[in-house]
């Protein structure tokens, strides 16, 4: 039993993201959405959300029963793997908890009472129920760690068409993803005709926009973990499968995640041709070929001039969050550097993400800082490309072999403040030569155009004269 009753969750979106991870990892066969007492506003939306994250073919139940009974009661004991329970009554929560099978999820929410009321409910965490969860979840993960017995089929190369390649980016357009903007630039430079389609549109709109283009390549973003409110994952996979069959589209999924396990551990071979991975962790569940596909830099011919507004000795641009392992140690190190040497950090108080301003920022500071993730094998930080690719000096602990230490960047020890300060002193003296060497290296081999070429050459033979 995964028990969320002790967690004060203020924003529904965050709550659902957390829940989504749990559901993906435990692979429920059926999800019950329950509202108890006062009808929960947006219950239908929650049902749709559960539908989007549940494995294909599984059912979703929505109920406002006060206590599990009748058909729901029997399903809880046999098929139901997760319950969203909205109640102010601890006894109701206990009833659901007791009725669920081991390994299930119970998400509690109190619509009409203050959160402290849940302290009474969360006492149950210490009961035998939680022990059952640990046992069953561990077993499931071990099962999944065994690679699939059916190897992914090899990629069959086809002749490059004698016309511009047509290419679609299907993803979340509501933010400036480097992947989205980079693929747009890279494909345009290859002479392809490219367009974006929002994954937040409804399925029929997405289908029409893709079909009228009949693309050769479909780059997907968040296909397997789509944002809330858009088409659910099983619908997106059905569409992708139909595009592959209908006009031979090549469907690509991108996984830049530094997570230890995939968020979608299911077979997607009917819908996907290739997984582009920014890590070396196999994803046997997907049963599709994969390739190592790192982030990249935008094209740039020359290093820009420094901009007064961005002047600094050392700068860091990225998320600052005091959470567990993902961002906590990095954030602590950055804060210590702010304290010690007045390091500049973006986003600043304005909250503006300056990713697209890197061509101004990189030449304006002595150096920029980044860190790798040793716990995520093969994962390479995006700063390894974006900073030197814009003429910046990077201080980093792990560039994944992409850059040469003391030639293209200045190495440091992970999260070690003194080591970073020493690296900054080196950068200060050698900045001009490192900037130039790193910029040329990245622009020569690691732009988004190179990444797009890598994919195109995997699927298309150029002999015979393609137009792209």
């Amino acid at each position: 039993m995964t028990w969320w009753g002790d967690r004060q969750i203020e924003q529904r979106a965050e709550e659902l993201v957390v829940l989504a991870d749990v559901v993906r990892e435990t692979r429920p066969s059926v999800v019950v959405v329950a509202a108890v007492g006062r009808a929960e506003e947006g219950l239908g939306g929650l049902g749709a959300f559960f539908a989007s994250i549940a494995p294909p073919g599984s059912a979703v139940h929505s109920t406002q029963d006060a206590r599990p009974s009748g058909q729901i009661g029997s399903e809880l004991a046999t098929r139901v793997a997760a319950v969203y329970l909205s109640t102010n009554d601890p006894a109701v929560a206990f009833a659901y908890a007791a009725a669920l099978q081991p390994g299930s999820i119970l998400l509690l929410r109190s619509p009409g009472a203050p959160w402290p009321d849940f302290s009474r409910v969360s006492c149950a965490r210490d009961s035998v129920l939680e022990g059952r969860l640990v046992e069953t979840t561990a077993l499931r993960r071990e099962e999944r760690a065994v690679p699939g017995d059916a190897p992914a089929p090899p990629i069959e190369r086809r002749t490059l068409p004698r016309r511009p390649l047509r290419s679609v980016f299907l993803g979340d357009l509501s933010y400036c993803s480097a992947y989205r903007l980079g693929v747009g630039q890279g494909m345009a430079q290859l002479g392809a005709w490219h367009r974006d389609v929002s994954i937040r549109d409804d399925a029929a709109d997405i289908d029409q926009q893709v079909r009228e283009m009949a693309p050769d390549l479909i780059w997907t973003h968040m296909l397997l973990w789509p944002p809330l409110g858009g088409a659910p994952v099983h619908k997106l996979l059905t569409l992708a499968e139909s595009w592959r069959k209908r006009f031979g589209a090549i469907v690509l999924v991108h996984d830049g995640d530094p997570r230890p396990r995939t968020r979608f551990p299911h077979d997607v071979s009917a819908a996907v041709d290739l997984a582009l991975l920014n890590h070396s962790r196999p994803v046997p569940d997907w049963r599709v070929p994969s390739c190592r596909w790192l982030y990249a830099a935008f094209s740039q011919e020359r290093i820009g001039d420094p901009v007064l507004d961005y002047r600094a000795d050392l700068a860091f641009a990225g998320l600052m969050r005091e959470d567990g392992d993902l961002y906590g140690p990095r954030t602590a190190c950055v804060r210590a550097l702010v304290e010690r040497i007045g390091m500049r950090v973006w986003p600043d108080d304005s909250g503006i993400n300056n990713r697209m301003l890197i061509a101004d920022v990189a030449p304006s500071v002595i150096a920029m800082l980044g860190f790798g993730r040793p716990e995520a094998p093969g994962w390479v930080d995006t700063r390894v490309f974006s900073v030197p690719g814009a003429g910046g000096v990077l201080i980093h602990d792990d560039t994944g072999g992409v850059l040469e230490p003391h030639v293209h960047y200045v190495p440091c020890v992970r999260y070690d403040v003194d080591s970073v300060i020493e690296a900054l002193a080196i950068a200060r003296h050698r900045a001009p030569e490192i900037r130039r060497a790193a910029f040329e290296h990245v622009q020569r081999s690691h732009t988004w155009r190179h990444r797009c070429e890598q994919v195109v050459s995997m699927f298309f033979r150029t002999s015979g004269g393609g137009a792209a």
Binding site: R162, S174, R195, E212, A214, L357, A467
Partner: protein, 320 residues
């Protein structure tokens, strides 16, 4: 592959940053798609923001990007439910004050203005596909007809659903604007020509299939609207730029008859039939040479890359 020289901000050398605010998620606009393709080729860092997003989202995107160029689509007549026009203009004004070059696009074939007020505070230049008076906006205008998608080589002709003697792709509707076109299409359907119509109101838009259609169809038909001063049919550049043999009655002087395209007399199906017969009589080599000349001319002078280049020169000076 041709390598197009990249554009950078004068005095700084960093790549230009550019954003399109428009109905980019749903509307299959050649302008939106063409500008994006051209910016990619010219080394401009470009992105798009839907005009249907809340004002706060658009504003945030602009803050993040701090663009040198702001292209707008439907700025003065945004789709229902979009960010209000005054807010959009206010954002554009703020960008101009920052130093951005703000562009308004007016591809309308309408003499009467949909927004007859000054936009001089918010807009740097209006790109117009007509010769009507827009002086009330209080901004300079540039004649900026539609253009061809960038293409490096002629597509190969293969048997496909587009294979025919003459093709027309577009809306076939009965209204005041298109009634003359509809009559000619009907007449051609009754002619001995193997004529195929790809009606976008009855199926999918073929804009993205332009390269194949141009290569597979023996010729592609287009219509001007001589009553609309300075307006150029999008097919004039779209199909020549993809290597089609264009059959057209008004190319606004952008191309030369019997060099780059096949002319016909407005409204006359007989004239179209006669023009195609003459083309056939000239032989396949002549036809292929016409395709190549049209393709090269269009890609050099009337591609979206050429159009965007034209704007960059206006905004930032001539590229050395």
């Amino acid at each position: 592959m041709t390598r197009t020289p990249m554009w950078a901000l004068p005095m700084s050398e960093r790549p230009l940053r550019s954003v399109m605010i428009g109905d980019c998620d749903h509307y299959l606009s050649p302008y939106i798609l063409g500008v994006a393709a051209a910016c990619g080729q010219l080394g401009v860092w470009h992105t798009q923001v839907s005009i249907r997003q809340p004002a706060a989202v658009i504003r945030q995107r602009l803050d993040e990007l701090q663009p040198d160029l702001v292209w707008t689509h439907m700025l003065l007549w945004a789709p229902t439910g979009s960010c209000p026009r005054d807010e959009l203009l206010s954002m554009c004004e703020a960008q101009r004050k920052r130093g951005a070059f703000v562009l308004l696009h007016d591809g309308d074939a309408k003499e009467k203005m949909r927004y007859p007020s000054s936009v001089a505070h918010a807009v740097s230049l209006a790109l117009v596909n007509h010769a009507y008076d827009r002086s009330v906006w209080g901004v300079p205008t540039m004649w900026w007809p539609y253009a061809a998608m960038p293409q490096f080589a002629l597509a190969r002709s293969t048997a496909s659903e587009f294979t025919c003697e003459l093709a027309f792709a577009g809306q076939v509707v009965e209204n005041a604007i298109y009634s003359a076109r509809g009559r000619l299409i009907e007449a051609l359907r009754r002619s001995p020509i193997d004529f195929r119509v790809f009606d976008s109101t009855r199926g999918l838009n073929t804009l993205w299939r332009t390269a194949e259609l141009a290569a597979c169809a023996g010729a592609v038909l287009g219509f001007g609207r001589k009553d609309v001063r300075g307006w150029v049919d999008t097919r004039v550049t779209q199909y020549t730029g993809a290597g089609a043999i264009l059959v057209h009655d008004d190319v606004a002087g952008l191309f030369e008859p019997w060099v780059h395209f096949v002319p016909y007399e407005t409204g006359s199906a007989d004239s179209v039939v006669a023009a195609l017969q003459r083309l056939k009589g000239e032989g396949a080599t002549f036809g292929f040479a016409m395709r190549e000349r049209a393709f090269e001319h269009a890609q050099a002078h009337h591609s979206w890359t050429a159009r965007v280049h034209q704007v960059l020169e206006r905004a930032f000076g001539r590229k050395e």
